[in-house]
């Protein structure tokens, strides 16, 4: 899987309340409607400036705080394809994978706002490239189950296809198909 996009640079400790405020959820949890308020706590102009295919490039501990899943779905609904950060809070990381939003852990220092970036995920390799700067950084590889869920477009597709969670290596009969 290769994703190319434009870097949207954020700092450390961007929590899920900043990604989308709980207050907004009193009116709707429809991610498409909420996308207009994406990251309003960080920058009120952010949502309007997102172009389809943008990639969030963040610092440490992205998605900390509440485990609310709209924080992941609203990023997707805004047209963002992937998030790369030097670290994630675990609940956001899970929610992202479960919705088919690629998340990669890699050194993100020095990437400039608007710079073209590329993410590559293969079976035993994952990396993040700052294309303009010519910098290639190794990313933490994703375990097989996460790659399977991503490949299915998220947990819904995965469970529809398999009916249950499959292990690597499998303990029981292989998952269908």
């Amino acid at each position: 899987m290769i994703i190319d996009g434009r870097a949207r640079v954020l700092g450390d400790d961007v929590n899920t309340d900043y990604i989308i405020s709980s207050r907004r959820k009193r009116e709707t949890i429809d991610a498409t409607a909420l996308a207009a308020f994406l990251l309003e706590g960080v920058d009120p102009a952010f949502a309007a400036s997102v172009r389809p295919g943008d990639v969030i490039v963040a610092g440490r501990n992205f998605g900390c705080g509440s485990a609310m899943e709209v924080a992941a779905t609203v990023i997707l609904a805004a047209g963002i394809r992937a998030v790369v950060a030097s670290s994630f809070a675990r609940s956001f990381h899970r929610n992202a994978i479960n919705n088919g939003l690629l998340v990669l852990v890699a050194d993100t220092s020095g990437v400039r706002e608007g710079a073209p970036v590329r993410m590559v995920v293969a079976d035993d390799d994952a990396r993040f490239e700052d294309v303009a700067g010519g910098v290639v950084r190794p990313a933490a590889p994703l375990p097989p189950i996460m790659r399977d869920i991503l490949a299915a477009g998220g947990l819904v597709g995965y469970l529809k296809a398999n009916g249950r969670f499959c292990e690597h290596p499998p303990r029981e009969a292989p998952c269908r198909p």
Binding site: E27, A67, K160
Partner: protein
Amino acid sequence: MTAKTMAEQVLSARSGTDARAGDVVVCDVDVVLGTDGSGPMAIDYFGAMGGTRLARPGTVFFSLDHYAPPTTDATRAFHARIRAFAAAHGATVFGVGEGISHQLAAERGIVRPGTLLAGADSHAVTCGALNAFAIGVGSSDLAAAMLTGQAWLRVPQTIRVRLDGALGAGASAKDAALTLVAMLGADGADYHAIEFAGSGVATLGMDDRFVFSNLMVEAGAKAALFPFDACTESYLFAAGVSASAYAPVASHAGAAFAGDRVLDLSAIGPCVARPHAPDDVVVLADAAGTPVQMVFVGTCTGGRVADFHAMRRAFDAAGGRVAPGVQLVLTPASAPVLEALMHDGTLTHLIAAGADVTTVGCGACCGTSGVIPSDGATVLSTANRNFKGRMGAATARIFLASPAVCGAAAATGRIPSSLTDREAP
């Protein structure tokens, strides 16, 4: 068999494998806990996954706590959907006014030592105080657990936190836990479990342990487990759970830890977390004198009986009347907490002194129900998060503190410089 941490033992037992830190395992989930915040999306995911029945209806619970009571058409509809779904599938719903999800899981004996709880709320980690592996998940993981009875988990490495000594006068579990969050940093326990150990554990009651486990998610922890002891056992007994109904875990001698930290409880003093980060913790003196316009006592961190008692003592010692220009908001974490405070006169006393009491649940904690601070207000709260906009007002400044510090501030209108002996919890 080699030595294992508590986390490795619970996840080995629940997955039927020899689970080690770093492994990815598929586990049977013992308790599946949703809220009105995460539940509606979980029901959507469940339907999209093709779900027609719950794998184990008796293990699925929803609490209507975040929108208690609902104040918009959208949130009324969330509650109606959850009620209809639970009725159709045999899950249990705790209604508006019954309490916060993880508080109910604990006090009703739903979560037990040695078990795996997946709660669609980041503060589900609170239940780790009962020697359980309790994690926060999102709505899709909740739906998957409802559908399959299982969750995939990466077995975390564990940071061991040794608690030494005992809390002195003026210090509370909240002060100690905030100090620990600052010590670890907001991402210091990302992807890790925390295990508490040491002689200080026995000096802490269950209400104190819930505060510790609760706040560890502010350092990124996946779970925060206390050892099982006589205190755990008597809490569970009072909740109607006999010792034959569970199998506690204790880490094996020689188990491998990713880190060892030490917190000397006897060195802890009152402190506050400053806006807008729970790990920006300073000693009380560094924030003393800051005028406050709202004081909030409640939430899954600071809304239990012992919290209101500590708050009342400090409030009375500092004058016993709500200071002019201050709104004191009290929101008990569960119906039994509310009842206990009614019976022992705490609420009558505090209402007469000028406090407002709101519906049991999350209240003003995250801006979904309850009182929203005024623009530009400074708030002092017993909660766990003080992110900008957290309580629904983007311009409010939220300080986090112990119930006693909140009590003193409610009576004086300012963050106190210290707690007198009479105010000490």
